[in-house]
């Protein structure tokens, strides 16, 4: 069977599974709709969190990015995993003990203020919406390349599927579908990696093969370093010393941003106990680590393979996949010196091969000549990653509207049934809106994702941490801190991102920090401002101090 038929079969089967799970896990109450009834097993929640977290970017783009960055790619690897340590130790158990539905719930109650809730609500909506548009784009691209439908149809099919199980099942449906999606995506990511690792190093475990030897007996990474230097690139494993401060700040912004993302935090409201919230973060990170420790191995294998297969190859002798990708415009060859061979070198004047980083994961199985069903599996995995993240984000958006805005702000006397209906309507609207935005994605999707992390780090993270660990933190301090942190981060990003219309150039970066890393500074500013302001304004009411006490202990004695 050829790749296309395999892809239809595997994608079709996985979609049927998701729909089946959704029908089985229909939500009957707002508690089920918002937090899956609060009865999810910690391991299941770990899988759901992992699928929720690993987006189209983790699955499709990350290994490609690392492949071209070498050592520096570690900022994504550490940045997108290290945040879970913060989540497990500093947030998840306490927020579970607090036991409401959303992040704005916590901010609003802890800071006894509707304004604080509103600020949190706006941040949550903004962060989630920018993020979800990127997922819809991922779905469209995957469909367009492999199922021979156009981009628009691809996005529409994606909307249809998410619409079905999110509107019907709410958090309950989403959680159990995410468990299924996790299994699909992790299988799809590791299978080709195992094949390639075995092919290249004789060791089936990519994490070990990566540090193993190739057929000639030399270490793989050493060979890759030599190949890179020959072509004029930096050594693959070499530390870029000029960039360390920036790498430090970017890694930190991704970590603290992860710990502040509402769609991740809300997952810890779904387990029964404080104890479960802690262990569930551990399971989540373990499941995420499977992909995140495989990805750098895939990156190194792909890079080596690419150089070995492409460098100095005669153009009329290229394999079929090369032509396929050339047709999509994501791969390009221009014979500058007219010798009919591909020169792939660091020097831009002489380089003849242009490669879009996003195709590495999708093209990798083809480059390594793996069977057609493996290629199909990767497509299903990419779709699972994009759909699971999109669903989690859409739920945050709908909860923010029906619970935080409607129930807590505009219409407190709404009935349970009315709120559930409102939740279903708002998720339906959110799905359609995200889909429409995905059909005409603004060109700057990649840029706004940096903004999402920066905002999460500079708004929620300090407000939640201080709310738990500093009893004296009052509403004046927290609100000022959030507003100043967010404004600073937003202005900096807009100013230094030409795609967003800013006039700044990299020479003007403060301490050499690029917009991707500025959330760290915004977060520090938030902390300082909040602490200073809170010490000069009215003290926290007694009832709030008691609330903080309550959050700190899994059970108070009776």
């Amino acid at each position: 069977m050829d790749t296309q038929i395999w892809t239809y079969v595997i994608v079709g089967v996985t979609f049927l599974i998701y729909i089946g799970v959704a029908i089985w896990a229909k939500a009957g109450s707002t508690k089920e709709f918002y937090v899956a009834g609060g009865g999810v097993h910690p391991i299941a929640n770990g899988m759901a969190t992992a699928a929720d977290w690993m987006s189209a970017a983790s699955f499709l783009s990350m290994a490609g990015l690392i492949s071209f960055m070498g050592f520096g790619g570690a900022q994504y690897l550490m940045g997108w995993t290290g945040g879970y340590v913060l989540l497990a130790l500093l947030l998840a158990p306490y927020l579970r003990k607090f036991g409401k539905f959303t992040v704005p719930d916590f901010i609003g109650d802890r800071y006894y203020s509707k304004q604080a809730r509103l600020v949190a609500l706006i941040c949550a909506l903004f962060v989630s919406f920018t993020y979800v548009v990127g997922q819809m784009k991922g779905v469209g691209v995957a469909f367009a390349r492999f199922l021979d439908v156009d981009y628009t149809t691809g996005v529409l099919i994606g909307i249809g599927i998410v619409f079905f199980y999110a509107v019907l099942g709410g958090m309950k449906g989403i959680t159990y579908t995410q468990v299924a999606q996790f299994c699909v995506l992790i299988f799809a990511f590791t299978v080709p990696a195992v094949f390639i690792s075995f092919q290249m190093t004789g060791n089936p475990i990519p994490q070990m093969g990566f540090g193993g030897t190739t057929k000639g007996g030399a270490y793989l990474l050493e060979t890759l370093n030599e190949l890179s230097v020959e072509l004029g690139f930096a050594k693959y494993t070499e530390v870029n010393k000029g960039n360390l401060t920036n790498m430090f700040f970017i890694t930190a912004a991704l970590m603290f941003g992860t710990a502040g993302l509402p769609h991740v935090i809300v997952r810890f409201f779904t387990v029964p106990k404080v104890k479960d919230a802690r262990i569930s973060a551990g399971w989540a990170l373990l499941f995420i680590a499977i992909l995140y420790t495989t990805a750098p191995a895939v990156a190194a294998f792909a890079r080596t393979n690419l150089i070995n297969t492409m460098s100095e190859r005669a153009y009329n002798d290229v394999p079929e996949w090369f032509t396929n990708w050339e047709n999509t415009g994501l791969l390009g060859f221009e014979d500058k010196n007219g010798d009919g061979r591909i020169q792939y070198v660091a020097d831009a004047e002489k380089n003849e091969l242009t490669i879009d980083r996003d195709i590495i994961v999708l093209a990798n199985p083809e480059i390594a000549k793996l069977p057609a069903w493996v290629v199909a599996l990767v497509v299903a995995g990419g779709l699972a990653a994009a759909l699971s993240t999109a669903a989690g984000l859409l739920l945050v958006i709908s909860t923010s509207i029906s619970h935080d805005l409607l129930k807590k702000y505009l219409k407190p006397d709404i009935s349970e049934k009315g709120e559930l209906k409102a939740a279903r309507i708002s998720i339906a609207v959110a799905v359609v809106a995200a889909g429409l935005a995905g059909l005409n994605p603004p060109g700057f999707v990649a840029e706004v994702v940096a903004l999402a992390f920066g905002l999460a780090a500079s708004s929620f993270f300090p407000a939640i941490i201080l709310g738990i660990f500093d009893k004296k933190m009052n509403k004046e301090g927290a609100i000022t801190g959030m507003v100043v942190g967010v404004l600073f981060t937003t202005c900096y990003i807009f100013y230094f991102k030409p795609q967003l219309g800013g006039g700044g150039t990299p020479d003007g970066y403060w301490f050499g920090i690029s917009p991707e890393g500025i959330g760290t500074l915004g977060m520090l500013i938030n902390f300082v401002v909040a602490l200073v302001v809170s010490r000069f304004t009215r003290p926290t009411p007694q009832a709030i101090k008691e609330l903080v006490e309550m959050i700190r202990y899994p059970r108070m004695y009776d």
């Binding site: 050592f71 570690a74 995993t81 879970y84 497990a88 494993t237 360390l244 930190a252 108070m556």
Partner: protein, 85 residues
């Protein structure tokens, strides 16, 4: 405020300080700031700094959470604040 509870909270903060120091050292220390120096050493086929940045730090993160869970479950029991079934 109950003295016992205060002690529970202080112990918790001490655990956090220790675990987060390890977190800081492996990721920002070994994986970024000192990676270049560590790269002089080899771990199998990996330069050591590169290994920490792309593999080791992540393994340590996972271990840290499971250690934390163990410590806290014991602490909860010792101070009788654990959740009953």
């Amino acid at each position: 405020m109950d003295k016992n509870l205060k002690k529970y909270w202080r112990t918790n903060l001490r655990y956090l300080a220790i675990l987060l120091s390890v977190w800081l050292v492996v990721s920002y220390g070994c994986g970024i700031l000192f990676a270049d120096q560590l790269n002089q050493f080899q771990l199998g086929g990996f330069p050591l700094g590169f290994w920490f940045a792309q593999q080791g730090a992540i393994y340590v993160f996972v271990i840290l959470i499971f250690v934390y869970v163990r410590l806290m479950n014991k602490l909860d029991k010792a101070y009788d604040v654990d959740e009953k079934e």
